[in-house]
């Protein structure tokens, strides 16, 4: 049976992890490769690296990091942040990334999804959608959730699917950082409507939240950052809990 995936997310700036991490095992708390290796050994099903470096000349550092990660770990990983062209994707895939994720650039130029999917295959194109509820309607936001667009989240999700995205990473800005649970209602609506997998993000605080997002939220995978980095929840205990809760999980 296909299992639900648990995905830690690492924020990267100039080749180093940004958000504070709380791992006593780490010799170098800012080394993404070392952290990736620990998560992989602990049973993470996939990893996401989100590059928040703004400048173009730092992109080379990212490609070098991707190669180091690809050499070190034996589970799939996605790289996102600032990717806007087919050439950007080519560089990162050749460096060893399994998938890339695009966000603002897809909103700006939706056709780029078709072009990337045609060139590299849908399986490696993840479209990240940041959503926020405004007066009862879910709207797509860009630039880390700061900038509102006129795109309705449900419609945009359907469009990126039709354009050839392989997976959707849906982050609820209303839930992100609150530790009050995922945006299960919206996730369930989108996951049920689409033929591609949906990765839920934003709001994880307890192990029960993961159970809820896989049952009520109908998510195919769940992503979280700080609760893993600060060891509020360990991946092995989370997986045991989900397995005991009758959720299909890789042991």
């Amino acid at each position: 049976m296909l299992t639900k995936r648990i995905i830690p997310c690492l924020d990267i700036k100039e080749g180093r992890t940004v958000k504070g991490v709380n791992f006593v095992e780490l010799r170098d708390a800012g080394d993404p490769v070392e952290l990736a290796k620990i998560y992989s050994d602990e049973g993470a099903d996939e990893l996401v690296f989100l590059d928040i470096t703004a400048t173009v000349d730092k992109r080379k550092t990212l490609a070098e990091l991707v190669t180091k990660v690809a050499k070190a770990i034996n589970i799939p990983f996605t790289v996102g942040g600032g990717i806007s062209t087919v050439e950007d994707v080519k560089v990162l895939l050749n460096a060893g990334a399994d998938k890339i994720s695009i966000n603002s650039s897809a909103v700006k130029n939706p056709q780029i999804i078709n072009e990337m999917a045609a060139e590299f295959g849908s399986q490696c194109i993840v479209v990240a959608i940041d959503t926020r509820n405004v007066d009862g309607i879910d709207f797509v936001h860009t630039h880390g959730g700061r900038k509102a667009t006129l795109l309705k989240t449900q419609e945009w999700a359907q469009e990126v699917c039709d354009r050839g995205a392989g997976e959707i990473l849906l982050t609820s800005m209303d839930h992100d950082g609150t530790k009050s649970g995922f945006s299960n209602e919206l996730l369930a609506e989108i996951s049920s409507a689409l033929s591609i997998p949906v990765i839920a993000s934003g709001g994880a605080g307890t192990m029960g939240h993961f159970k809820d997002v896989f049952t009520f939220g109908k998510a195919d995978a769940a992503l979280a950052a700080s609760i893993f980095h600060f060891k509020e929840i360990g991946i092995p205990e989370l997986k045991r809990y989900l397995s005991d809760s009758e959720i299909s999980i890789r042991k």
Binding site: L2, T3, K71, N74, G96, I196
Partner: protein, 198 residues
Amino acid sequence: MKIAVIKYNSGNVQSVLYALERLGANAELTDDPEVIRAADKVIFPGQGEASTAMRYLKERKLDTLIKDLKQPFLGVCLGLQLLCEHSEENDTECLGVFPVKVKRFVPENSQEFKVPHVGWNELENLADIPLLKDLPAEPFVYYVHSFYAELSDLTIAQTHYIHDFSAMLHRDNYYAIQAHPEKSGLVGEKLLSNFLSI
């Protein structure tokens, strides 16, 4: 030991090379027929679209070469599908090493089953052969695919998604796996090291 990884227009070959490197094996990425023929082991990775890949192999006469090889040969992902007889992906005649048909997943219920089949799923009903020895009790492997090989007499492991399909096939010196062993954690590592020991 010389390991040849067949170079063609397929994506993400690098991961296979890195996985072999982690096992301490030295592999060469090559489309040189002499190098491939002389290798002790041949790995045929793959990611992409079947008809484009077959056209590329034919243009370089790699199709006849692959069918003639005598050393242990491992097809991975699209590599498994190309070793079959025919694929529904753009109605493609494939290499025919395995007399098996490749079909597209058709979910009866799109809410429950999405296509592609992405993520970790279990190898079941394993054959008692050296390639599959000493795997953990519930061997999970990482899949990304929209097409699958039907069950056959040559199936040496199966996986269930929508229905059972051939997770692995084997005939003579040819072995193939639909999942990505290079991305399948310790299970994948064990499968690759078993293959290198055949």
